[in-house]
Homo-oligomer: 184 residues x 2
DNA sequence: CCATTTGGACAGCAGTATTGACGCATTCGC
DNA sequence: GCGAATGCGTCAATACTGCTGTCCAAATGG
């Protein structure tokens, strides 16, 4: 039973014996381990700043996500938001209700379909979203500046590739043009 | 009260009026919004595959992280692990205890300092870690292949930049050489 | 008119993380 | 050698986010 450094994972020893050249068809052991580490640390620290602000308001990341996506798509319906976030109606309800009763978000019936509740940030909601946004801007701006424009483009390409089809579709919709007269 | 596309965030209209050229000193509004979206969707989908496997074993991401870092640093002490994960002793205890009692991880007193509990994966632990690893390899490999080697390098640079100092130090230690005879 | 869609609401459960306090064994420093 | 510091485990209470399941109301659309 191994208890020390070089364990008996055969593949690991094998992978380490390979030359340093990149072989993207067979992702080397160390390359993936590094990707795992980078994503863990990077995502954690990316969210850390906003989390601090949110904690003072008795909110969490889920609240931020709602503020973010409602801010990005004013007039979004509950159903669309659920699709983007990938959570259940009940989970959304628990963060959306407080956001509305605290005056960060307002809802209005859809014009063509009055079952819908179109969500919009209030002035208060925009102010908070902007505060969180500015906090994260510092983090991302520093990373982008240090890495350079070419690296930024590469970062975007890889992150897109990590997404599943659903997320890529959601992102395309977010980036895309505003739907006609907000009628979804 | 705005309910439609162009809200009254003055900066947004201003930013959108700028030419497309990158200005890294002043990160344009849309660039950061995109970064936020990419990180949210990308990280979520990156972890989704492993999460499925973990759910069948009544485990969560926290268990995976322990398996990952103990696998990366066999003989790591509890304190070092706490430093890397950035969580409290209590939180770690709740996932580490089950992992030990289920035979995924074993602990042994340190040789030079017997207060320490050095953690190591068992065969069973290595097998599970590998299974989770292989699942994520598919996701990352696809993203890397589609993006290309240059993009991968850029991705790494940006992710490193997102990390705070502590995380960068932790990562350097993980990537760095095995400490002498495992004596920390 | 009725099935479907959209959304709200209630109850209960699980996983992850927190703070604070206490206890024990071991090691370090003077 | 002895007190202080370190490494670790544990108890209790709490918060946030997600899940499942059930039920209900309003509006839409054949």
């Amino acid at each position: 039973m191994p208890t020390r450094g070089s364990t008996n994972i055969a593949e690991m020893a094998e992978a380490r014996a390979l030359p340093a050249g990149r072989n993207l068809l067979f992702l080397r052991e160390e390359e993936l381990r590094l990707a795992q580490d980078l994503l863990f640390f990077g995502y954690r620290d990316f969210t850390a700043g906003a989390d601090e602000i949110l904690a003072t308001l008795d909110m969490g990341r889920a609240h931020h996500r709602v503020l973010h996506f409602v801010g990005r798509r004013p007039g979004i319906t509950v159903g669309e938001l659920l699709g983007i976030l990938g959570i259940t109606k009940q989970s959304l309800g628990r963060v959306l209700q407080p956001l509305m009763s605290d005056g960060y978000v307002v809802q209005a019936p859809g014009e063509s379909d009055r079952r819908q509740r179109r969500l919009t940030l209030t002035e208060k909601g925009m102010a908070l979203e902007r505060r969180l946004f500015e906090r994260q801007r510092e983090t991302v701006m520093r990373a982008y500046r240090e890495a350079g424009p070419a690296a930024v483009e590469g970062f975007r390409r890889v992150m897109r590739g990590l997404m599943g089809e659903d997320a890529q579709a959601s992102l395309a919709r977010l980036e895309g043009p505003e739907p006609e007269g907000n009628r979804r």
